[in-house]
């Protein structure tokens, strides 16, 4: 295999892992944040029970994505985390607190841990928004090392993306809750859902429109063929799914299936982002070919890790089948 093809294969694998993470764990993060919203006690319990056995396996996709990024593109891992020190820290604290507080809650049943679990979910999502915003806006690099300041990531684009992601995950979480058989739909649930969706959409669209200003690469992407065409098609698809989503919400039909529609919107947005940056992996400076580790390493990883990924996937499905919808009994 040529080094070019290897880098492309690994880029595709990592994108897939990250997409799986966003789609699978996004709902959990959203539900976690929802637990902070005032609501009756029994609904909070439904929320906590909803995580049950799956969320650990879901979060694994994030760790796999991060670790394979380091293996296949060491330059990305080191430069991006160096540059995005504070976002990475916020994200890390969120994840750490989330794991620990969930387990402490299960063991002790104390409300403090349930509250901290919600806070941790929020922190993790905000951290993701910061990371994504900083990463997309561009990192200044000189001589193969980070060459900027500690607050370079704090831009309007980052703020808008973070807002969009927080509300986007809330939508994912809310629709997932509705998806559970035992969840009772409160009268104003759909109203809340629609407003969260509108906020998320506005913030993400505004962020995307500001992008060419932050990073000239995107201006090319939006005007030069063929990437422009692909992006237009993806945007049209997103618009169609959004319309279906809005129709179902307004007519209150198929509400339990809204979860799949919102996952589709996230997945399409993710694809759009990849088309928008490829072949850059640290836009607008470093391509996947420049950041790749040695071909020997990428081949070794492909043989070692490649076969495991489908197994993990099948396994995730198996667990999901054993524990179906509503979460376990202890």
């Amino acid at each position: 295999m040529t080094p070019t093809l290897l880098a492309q294969i690994w880029f595709a694998i990592i994108c897939l892992e990250a997409a799986l993470y966003v789609v699978l764990d996004g709902g959990n993060l959203g539900i976690g944040m929802l637990s902070l919203v005032p609501q009756p006690e029994h609904e909070r319990e439904t929320i906590m029970r909803a995580f049950g056995p799956m969320w650990d396996a879901n979060e694994t996709w994030l760790l796999i994505a991060a670790a394979t990024t380091y293996g296949a593109f060491p330059m990305v891992y080191s430069i991006a985390l160096n540059a995005l020190y504070i976002p990475a820290f916020v994200f890390g604290v969120g994840l750490v607190l989330r794991v620990a507080s969930y387990e402490f809650y299960c063991s002790s049943g104390q409300r403090l841990w349930r509250f901290l679990f919600g806070v941790a979910s929020l922190l993790a999502v905000v951290g993701q928004g910061f990371l994504l915003g900083g990463f997309i806006s561009g990192i200044s690099i000189a001589n193969g090392h980070f060459a900027g300041g500690p607050l370079d990531w704090a831009t309007p684009v980052t703020a808008l993306f973070t807002l969009g992601i927080v509300f986007g995950y809330l939508v994912l979480g809310y629709t997932r809750l509705i998806n559970f058989a035992s969840y009772e739909l409160s009268p104003n649930a759909l109203l809340q859902l629609s407003s969260a969706t509108v906020i998320a959409a506005c913030a993400l669209i505004a962020g995307a429109l500001l992008l060419p200003h932050a990073n000239y690469l995107y201006f090319d992407r939006w005007t030069v063929l063929p990437s422009a065409y692909i992006l237009y098609v993806i945007a049209a698809c997103i618009a169609i799914v959004c319309a279906a989503f809005a129709y179902n919400v307004l007519t209150k039909t198929h509400v339990r299936e809204l979860y799949y529609l919102s996952m589709a919107i996230f997945a399409l947005g993710f694809v759009g982002m990849i088309v928008g940056v490829y072949p850059y992996i640290l836009p607008p400076n470093v391509t996947i070919f420049e950041a790749a580790s040695s071909p020997a390493t990428q081949v070794f990883m492909l043989w070692g890790i490649g076969p495991i990924l489908p197994i993990v996937l099948v396994y995730n499905y198996y667990i999901r089948r054993i524990f179906r919808q509503d979460g376990p009994e202890y």
């Binding site: 650990d56 620990a100 060459a147 020997a296 070794f300």
Partner: protein, 454 residues
């Protein structure tokens, strides 16, 4: 303080805290695998009760282990970006293996282990418990591979400032990796057994005669049966591990023995029981020594040559302060290793005399107190051993290839690193406190001996 020093404190701090939990997870998981196998094999209810009870504590250790390990992998990028980049060809790959193969395995099977009691076949459940243990052990294997390669980097070449792997089997099975992995696994099992046994001994001291006391008597006896093999074995593996250091890291050996001058041919090097460097840092101000001891320990011959610190440039070997820490860390680990062997032997003598029967076991109060006192010992030894290993490697991150000072991230401010260190440390202290509180509650409320079997 500089970002470099603060980053070292942060990594040391987070790593020292993190290592406690995998040690418990792996050790307790092994205990669980043994209990579940025995239960399915003998159909004896008591094994099932043991399994269910210790699973509660296992779950806590596993969660804190996962949580506290996350910042470590982030820190490679955030605080040690130059190292992450230069050594990424190997380190990234190996950490990728660790996460994908091992971590994915254990966290996935954990779901069945915890929630699957009524949903899967008992053999599938045993298999899940086993896979959680195997997953955690493979995880430890890859972490030890990564770390041992930093100690003895083989199978690589340097191109344009990047370390590139030329031979994976040499890099993975470097002279240090297998023996270090075994030493670490020994530490996991031994520390956990004395933790479990110690908790049981504490309950034997404080509970009335009855089914609960019998439960903890069984725990202690099972632990003892495994500890008998593990404790002496760990001393032997430790010695093997020392031989690797002597051969491949003579600077580290000289530092952890505070050996300043190379012994002359025909004369053995003495082993210092206690020592302290002099003010000019080229010899010891005082030392209490056993003649020929060091030669015997590290070369297994009376007059083997042991290089001294003065043979190396001061900038290429651990500093005096670092040497003192490794010197006493090593001795602490060794003393604990022998103390635990002694306690295991004492226990076997009691067992032999029939002193561990349910009527008589609670009468041996001094012996039970020793078990209680041994609860933290394995963990202290593990920490001390890691300090010897990591501080003794200084001033290098990758031995003789990359210096710690050249590994740190670019453009960090002390303010950033200081803040993150404080937050993470505070969070970890809270986790430790909550863990102790919750496990205290679990142990105090005792095992569930009545619920129906699955």
């Amino acid at each position: 303080m500089s970002p470099l020093i603060l980053s070292r404190i942060q990594f040391g701090d987070t790593a020292a805290f993190h290592i406690l939990w995998p040690v418990m997870s792996i050790g307790i998981a092994l205990y669980m695998v043994v209990m579940e196998s025995m239960w399915l094999y003998t159909k004896e209810e008591s094994y099932y009760r043991q399994l269910r009870f210790w699973t509660k504590i296992f779950v806590l250790t596993f969660a804190i282990g996962t949580a506290s390990g996350l910042p470590l992998s982030l820190e490679f990028g955030t605080n040690w970006s130059q190292f992450a980049q230069a050594a990424g060809d190997f380190m990234g790959n190996i950490l990728g293996f660790e996460t994908t193969i091992a971590f994915a395995l254990e966290s996935a099977f954990l779901a069945i282990l915890i929630f699957g009691w009524k949903r899967v076949h008992p053999l599938m459940h045993l298999f899940s418990t086993f896979m959680v243990f195997i997953g955690a052990s493979i995880s430890a294997f890859w972490i030890m591979v990564a770390n041992s390669w930093m100690q003895v980097p083989e199978g690589i070449t340097v191109q344009n400032g990047l370390i590139v792997v030329t031979n994976y089997s040499q890099a993975i099975f470097n002279p240090d990796s297998v023996v270090s992995f075994m030493h670490m696994m020994g530490a996991c099992v031994e520390s956990s057994l004395f933790l479990i046994g110690g908790i049981a001994a504490w309950q034997l001291l404080t509970t009335e005669a009855g089914p609960v006391r019998d439960f903890f008597r069984q725990t202690l006896v099972y632990c003892l049966a495994i500890a008998l093999f593990v404790a002496p074995l760990q001393v032997v593996i430790g010695d093997m591990s020392g031989l690797v250091v002597a051969q491949y890291q003579p600077e580290k050996l000289a530092a952890l023995e505070l050996q300043w001058d190379t012994n002359a041919p025909g004369e053995g090097a003495a082993w210092d029981v206690v020592a302290w460097p002099n003010s000019t840092n080229n010899g010891n101000a005082f030392a209490v020594s056993i003649p020929n001891g060091l030669s015997l320990l590290t070369t297994h011959s009376m007059e083997g040559t042991v290089q001294g610190l003065n043979d190396f440039q001061a900038s290429d070997r651990p500093s005096e302060m670092e040497a003192v820490i490794t010197f006493y860390g090593f001795r602490l680990m060794m003393v604990i290793g022998f103390l635990l062997v002694a306690l295991a032997l004492w226990s076997i003598v009691l067992w032999w005399k029939g002193g561990l029967s349910s009527e008589r076991i609670a009468r041996h109060r001094a012996w039970l107190r020793c078990w209680v006192a041994s609860i933290p010992l394995g963990f202290i030894a593990t920490e001390a051993g890691w300090m010897v290993r990591e501080i003794g490697r200084q001033p290098w991150t990758v031995y003789h290839l990359m210096r710690t000072a050249d590994s740190v991230s670019i453009g960090l401010t002390s303010y950033e690193v200081g803040t993150t260190t404080l937050v993470v440390t505070a969070a970890y202290l809270v986790f430790a406190g909550v863990f102790i509180y919750l496990s205290y509650r679990i142990v105090r409320s005792g095992p569930d001996l009545v619920s129906p079997l699955p």
